[in-house]
Symmetry: C2
Subunit: 202 residues, 2 copies
DNA sequence: CGCCCAATGTAGGCGACGCCAACATAACAT
DNA sequence: ATGTTATGTTGGCGTCGCCTACATTGGGCG
């Protein structure tokens, strides 16, 4: 076997894979998106990465730890998607509704990740995990407060209103993924479920 | 149908267990409620029932089939809970809100079953499975139509309104189970989440 | 009355999984 | 050069879903 001292990392096996943790996360993300969290297995990821079945344990305490790391990436992506969605509109309420729409779009586009975020799989890691979702919620509360500053729905406690709106949007996203209800033929899923949300949207 | 009338009713091993399917469902339900769907294993249930590890396959094609049977029971129970909740109030809108409250209560009281119903685990059995959830949805649509007959929100398509309300209530139930948001200390979870729903409740 | 058969339960095995323990190798600091 | 440590490997244990025989039992039928 050749040493890894050469500058050309073409494809010899550099006995210490260099970035195994990152590769496991990348491969895990790919399996998660394409086949769902239940199909993410440390052994399988190890094989795909070309290392032995127990190598992943040098980087993740157990399967749940890897899932938690993926969840952290997912929360960040969801937050970014919501934040970016507000750029294309101006009024505070339009921004709020754009966030809701982006939330549903995220669920429809990345169902594997979305289910992972809300399936209670990733153990309740008190530290990083909760703070990630708290950040996302804070984004929502902040936007609601901006809306209320214009007098909109200002009689309601912003946190309650944020939770209620989150419930509405999250419920729509979850029902959409469940597939129990389907948009009529020819209607785009995002359009359909955005309309559903709009019925009760404050 | 009682050929099992041996004179020893104590507990000999009736070499053909008599009601294995029912017992597997009962045991499976118990594990589901206490430890979650992921912990329901055919081998384990077989052992608990005192039969060999492959006996369950005489009654369920595979693990998913047993889960689907449990889901069917769950849908029926959810529907019953919602229907019963309408008995204690009179006005159509109060009945609707009572259904929503019963929905959230069901999720809080039987989280294992609730998660199973909405985790996409039970393969999309085109036949029984979907019809069960359709029946529950029909219950909701019917109640909404009763409300609209009194002029309430009559401008909205009843199916859209039902989907929107279902989204709101389902989202609240799901967020409640996820544990990312918790009621303030001393506040009952059902009361708390019912208030959340009430903010946007039509 | 007795026999066959289909329903039901058993035994053994295969492959995949999570995870543990013991060991090997490479990277790096001294 | 040397020894410590991060990283990867081998082998193994126990559990799981599910497959292929094979055994038992009771009901239907001659």
């Amino acid at each position: 076997m050749s040493p890894r001292t050469s500058k050309a990392p073409t494809k010899p096996r550099p006995y210490h894979h260099g970035g195994l943790r990152e590769e496991l996360l990348r491969l895990g993300l790919s399996v998660l998106e394409s086949h769902g969290a239940s199909k993410v297995s440390l052994r399988d990821l190890a094989t795909r990465a070309g290392v032995s079945k127990t190598a992943p344990y040098r980087h993740f305490a157990d399967r749940e730890a890897l899932l938690s790391a993926l969840m952290q990436m997912g929360w960040a992506a969801l937050r970014t998607a919501m934040a970016d969605a507000t750029d294309s509109v101006n009024s505070p309420t339009d921004k709020l509704f754009a966030m809701g729409r982006a939330y549903v779009a995220f669920a429809l586009e990345r169902p594997g990740m979305y289910r992972l975020l809300f399936s209670g799989e990733g153990k309740s890691l008190p530290g990083s995990n909760c703070s990630e979702s708290d950040d996302s919620f804070a984004l929502l509360v902040g936007q609601i407060e901006s809306c209320q500053a214009t007098g909109w729905r200002s009689e309601v406690d912003p946190e309650m209103l944020a939770l209620s709106y989150w419930s509405l949007v999250h419920g729509a996203a979850d029902l959409a993924l469940e597939g129990l209800v389907r948009p009529p033929p020819g209607v785009d899923a995002l359009v359909f479920w955005s309309r559903i949300v709009a019925v009760l949207q404050p």
